[in-house]
Subunit: 263 residues, 2 copies
Amino acid sequence: MKNEDQQPVILVTNDDGLFAPGIKYLVDVAKQFGTVVVVAPDSPQSAKGHAITIEDPVRLNQVEAFPGIEAYECSGTPVDCVKLAKHLIFKGRKQPDLCLSGVNHGSNASINIIYSGTMSAAMEASLEGIDSIGFSLLDFKFDADFESSRPFVTKIIAETIENGLGETKLINVNIPKLKTEEIKGIKVCRQANAKWEEKFHEATDPRGKKYYWLTGEFVNLDDGKDTDIWALDQGFISIVPSMHDLTKYDAIAPLKNFENINI
Amino acid sequence: MKNEDQQPVILVTNDDGLFAPGIKYLVDVAKQFGTVVVVAPDSPQSAKGHAITIEDPVRLNQVEAFPGIEAYECSGTPVDCVKLAKHLIFKGRKQPDLCLSGVNHGSNASINIIYSGTMSAAMEASLEGIDSIGFSLLDFKFDADFESSRPFVTKIIAETIENGLGETKLINVNIPKLKTEEIKGIKVCRQANAKWEEKFHEATDPRGKKYYWLTGEFVNLDDGKDTDIWALDQGFISIVPSMHDLTKYDAIAPLKNFENINI
């Protein structure tokens, strides 16, 4: 991914919208590495997964969100933002060399990746052949401390620009809620096998009709020491190389019995 | 998955909503195998991926959509439907033995799986340990011909109830748009490497503001004869065993250089 003759072009996006401190921080880190273009949702889009907008039109407006940085807000999902960036904003221009998504306010480790708008935006960019990094901090708060991760986030981006991500094109980076000096380093891991145990908060609206609000508890089912959850629990930043091929290859042969079906 | 002493409980869902002919057909096929409970979105939720609703409440109402069948409509996404089914409708009851999602009006082969509400609903059920099948017909039309696939869909469900899905717990079944006698059989395959080449239809609204509408063309980048796209092109029904672990295992070792980062 080296560009001897020109600066890298870096697409920055997220799922929390342009006013989230996480993206402001990421733009600030990214701009030292090249030309940053920001395309982010105009409202929070957490947990939108790989949703795209096909039943409605989407809007895209240029905004002045970060001093000196070209930025746009989009009425669609995080994946819509990346598609609009590629096909409208970068049309006829040099396409991005790198996509950075986040920094998300809250974990996208383990099974969270499939629900995450942050990671889906990064995955969509990786599908276009762009090296892509999703960053998430294990702190849901609006005023979460992103600065503590700056030396690591900076070096992860530098390493990616220097050497590229190779075959994977997508990494899921999760950062423990720790001070800089407490972060033990970086572990490259697999996604832990975990799930959400949902509960629905049941209540009654002012008109007397029931409604339900999703809540739940993250349950780790995996005691492996090579997982992202383990690394984070130990105080490391976790990096999971990720992909969009959902084929379970080792199940193809055992299911060949379906091919014997005759009608 | 055999239940000697009682009928299987079958959860049926989709992403096109309760009024789609595809789900009506699937309920009709499923009811011969056990007790069917339907939970589907109250409006079309195509391309919602693995989105869940966390910023808003969701509604769930029992409806009389299919004669003699317990059915509910949900204001949320396809994944919300499955979560509500498990945690509210089946609370204190026997949990489903099988989840059937679809039949989707349109392909969910290859890369479509990551955008698909149909497949995400089935994946969510598989995460709960339930054998799950997503069915899709390669015809977008409202009045698509589902009946031609009936002998195959019936036997795929029968085989799954008889032998289970083993390790994978999730299969992605796509059906070519062919008459029964033209369907050549079933192939168990991997997901083809393909992508969407998007275009945005640009237009101006009645107030003079621009909007964009996503459109695009499916591009197969894979000439393998072991893929779902190949099988469908040849006139077979494709079955891809699928999973939710997005770790790209063979990229873990090559990326260990990230662990050398020191600050």
